[in-house]
């Protein structure tokens, strides 16, 4: 009798576990009357803003529920590449940039958006800033719709430089900037904040622009545009890296080897650094209503050395993986998120105010009166930097691969960039000698191409 009861209980337990494991299927099909889509985005403030506003501004009108997956840049790339390149089928919309868009488009991993954008008159595809649109296209086909566009420039505290009796030239050189940084550097306030965190999109982006303008390059190119030899062992590369490392050591922020956009942003807002070379998008956050340094900042073009311009070109843009079965709904969302209407509505709804709406995508943004007023300090420098970004010829020599400023447009750059920036970050931290790091990086970079 006892044995039967015990056996029945155990059987019931197994059945219960089995049923529990089978449940929980709440993806597409649930949600609003229009279905739902899955969107992967990066965790920058403008993206978090739109995630909060989507239910009221989009879902209510279209009935399409949007399931956001908000990730940090590294994890987002991992997830996106896996989903798009290895056929993961998890997302209907993914956020990518000018590095991935032409490559994925070339391989057929993402849908050509030209048809969608042409037939959607509210979208006004010709309003998109040409430099940004071209960066996200290949052979004239638009593969990703820009959510925001950025270049890089130098942000500095006008009051701090004034007190030290220094002025920032209209187009500074790296030598001038380094000089100013070392002069204003004090124990309480570092001279400049530069990225030092490992990652091809972190330290890699910042450093590559310096490398470009100082006449160095990652690889030389064959006439057909493919990779020739790794140039990490060349004197130009070492000079650029030595300059970067020395500037951080002498006048850089605390914990530089772990510092990326967010860390420099908080140190700048806290008054712990006097200058900051990073994305133009940062300006909107520095001039936001809730910023402690609002109104105190000057904006200069990215410092140069041997080239005319050195600002990078990046855009976080939305693309539709070709494996998605809901391309129409996905386009409706993309049209909302990257169309002119959201930009007009967001200004009054996001916490940072008009200065914090997604910049750098459309010419019409810069015509909105409230935006022109709130972004007066940085709107024109931003537009100028984006237009001047030397995407087709960033340095003094020919580059292999697809166009790019702060990266090399070959798929292997992700891996080489990650491994090399880990070495360089260790040099910044003082743990590895620069020659060891360069030699390790040369080994890694030589594994690419012929």
């Amino acid at each position: 009798m006892r044995r039967t009861v015990g056996a029945t209980l155990i059987a019931a337990l197994f059945v219960g576990l089995g049923v529990a494991g089978c449940g929980d299927d709440d993806d597409s099909g649930g949600g609003g009357s229009g279905g739902s889509i899955n969107v992967a985005m990066v965790d920058n403030p403008q993206m978090k803003d739109i995630a909060k506003l989507t239910p009221s501004l989009f879902t209510k009108k279209s009935g399409i529920k949007v399931n956001y997956t908000v990730l940090d840049e590294g994890t987002l790339r991992e997830v996106t590449t896996r989903d798009v390149a290895a056929g993961g089928r998890q997302f209907d919309v993914v956020m990518i940039g000018p590095f991935e868009a032409p490559q994925f488009g070339q391989n057929g991993f993402i849908t050509d958006l030209t048809k969608f954008s042409a037939s959607d008159s509210a979208y006004q595809v010709d309003d998109i800033i040409p430099a940004v649109r071209n960066a996200l296209s290949l052979d004239g086909k638009l593969y990703a719709a820009p959510f925001y566009g950025e270049s890089s420039f130098l942000m500095y505290r006008k009051d701090v430089l004034q007190k030290a009796g220094l002025t920032m030239p209209a187009q500074p050189t790296w030598a001038q900037v380094a000089d100013i940084a070392r002069k204003v550097n004090t124990p309480e306030m570092a001279g400049i904040c530069l990225r030092g965190k490992p990652g091809w999109g972190d330290l890699g982006a910042s450093f590559t622009t310096v490398l470009n303008t100082m006449g160095g390059t990652w690889w030389s190119a064959k006439p057909d545009g493919s990779v020739d030899t790794a140039m990490v062992d060349q004197p130009e590369f070492k000079n650029a890296l030595q300059f970067y490392v020395d500037l951080i050591k002498d006048a850089g922020e605390k914990d530089a080897a772990g510092a990326s956009f967010n860390e420099c942003l908080s140190q700048y807002k806290d008054g712990k650094v006097a200058m900051w070379y990073d994305a133009t998008v940062a300006a909107g956050l520095l001039e936001a209503d809730d910023s402690a340094v609002k109104g105190k900042n000057g904006y200069a073009p990215a410092p140069v050395d041997k080239t005319q311009a050195s600002g990078w070109l990046w855009s976080w843009a939305l693309a539709i993986p070709s494996t998605s079965t809901q391309a129409d709904k996905a386009w409706k969302f993309i049209s909302f998120a990257t169309g002119p209407q959201y930009l007009k509505e967001a200004g009054t709804k996001v916490p940072g105010g008009w200065a914090a709406i997604p910049p750098g995508t459309r010419k019409s943004t810069y015509q909105i009166p409230q935006y022109k007023k709130a972004a007066a300090a940085f709107a024109q420098p931003t537009l100028d930097s984006i237009s001047a970004a030397p995407i087709d010829n960033p340095g003094t020599t020919k580059r292999p691969g697809l166009p790019g400023v702060q990266y090399v447009g070959i798929p292997e750059f992700q891996d080489v960039g990650n491994q090399c920036t880990q070495q360089f970050s260790a040099v910044i931290a003082g743990r590895t000698p620069i020659d060891t790091a360069l030699s390790n990086c040369q080994d890694v970079a030589s594994g690419v191409g012929g």
Binding site: G74, R82, A85, P198, A257, K272, A429, R431
Partner: protein, 312 residues
């Protein structure tokens, strides 16, 4: 209720199973375990065999290309890969140091907790808390609140004492991660040692005291001897977990020389940006084989745990 069998001269035939069962006794014991065994084989051995297959190919997904059989090329490349060698050394450092230090600290705290004092329950609960936190949270707390150059508590204390701040995570990544691991694992060791201490027979201790033994002598000769199987258990469990460490590395340093251990290196070569599944599979196969060798050696030769089982 066995049927009697007429014994043959000089031979004893064991009775067969009763007539109300089709299967022998031993099969009746094993059959209910079969689903669990099948499940385990499916989930661990099938992927393992597939990993072995992948390690013999040159499978990369960026740039996409056909998957071709290349034999032992990946293993040859592995032998010359000095990043893999560094990863192994970091793995050893990040396993041995935290296990030993947390064992020593855990034992010390357990000895202190073994006697009654006012508030013992509260203190014990507070001491267990680090083990209950998510490893990612532990990494972030230590990186941003304790170790940080500007905002960290440790550097604040150093500055108050007149020293210059140290950037722990940037300058000493292995040590920083090891410290967070010690903080996380000391409660675990403490609990195991407490169980050991509380199961110690007190009559032997009292006899030793009557004989005039000093407290430290008692500890060294009696307590430690009794605690040995518990220590071995703690070391075994701690090592098994720490070999697989990933969270603190990802959150505190993002990899890099000095903080990339083997699991993190395999992650970097596969889905973390390398997208070289063939090469990464070969690393993980090598690690599995090494782990089996080390674990077998440790369990059979060094440990008294299994010997104790055989005796009992």
């Amino acid at each position: 209720m066995t049927t009697t069998v007429r014994p043959r001269i000089g031979r004893v035939i064991p009775p067969k199973a009763g007539r109300d069962s089709l299967l022998s006794e031993s099969w009746r014991r094993r059959l209910p375990l079969l689903p669990a065994l099948l499940f385990m084989i499916l989930l661990t051995q099938v992927p393992f065999v597939m990993s072995v297959y992948y390690s013999l190919t040159d499978w990369k997904i960026v740039p996409p290309g056909p998957r071709e059989y290349v034999g032992l090329d990946n293993y040859q490349h592995l032998l010359h890969d000095h990043f893999f060698g560094s990863a192994i050394w970091v793995s050893i450092q990040l396993t041995v140091f935290p296990v030993i230090v947390s064992l020593v600290l855990g034992t010390a705290i357990a000895v202190l907790l073994d006697r009654k004092f006012f508030g013992r329950g509260v203190v014990r609960t507070m001491l267990i808390t680090p083990f209950l936190l998510t490893p990612v949270v532990i990494g972030l707390i230590w990186k941003n609140q304790m170790f940080h150059g500007l905002y960290g508590v440790i550097n604040w204390v150093i500055e108050k004492l007149g020293g210059t701040p140290v950037e722990f995570v940037s300058e000493h990544p292995t040590l920083s991660i090891a410290i967070t691991l010690v903080w996380q694992w000391t409660p675990f060791m403490m609990l195991i040692m407490l169980a050991g201490l509380q199961s110690m027979p007190q009559d032997v201790v009292e006899a030793a005291k009557v004989d005039g033994a000093a407290p430290f002598g008692i500890f060294r000769q009696l307590t430690l001897g009794h605690l040995r199987p518990y220590m071995e258990l703690g070391v075994l469990l701690g090592s098994i977990y720490l070999i697989q460490l990933y969270d603190q590395i990802a959150v505190m340093t993002g990899g890099g020389p000095g903080s990339t251990n083997v699991p993190y290196y395999v992650y970097q070569r596969s889905i973390g940006g390398g997208w070289e599944f063939g090469q990464a599979s070969s690393y993980s196969i090598v690690v599995v084989i090494a782990s089996i060798v080390i674990a077998t050696f440790a369990l059979r030769v060094l440990s008294g745990l299994l010997k104790g089982e055989a005796a009992a």
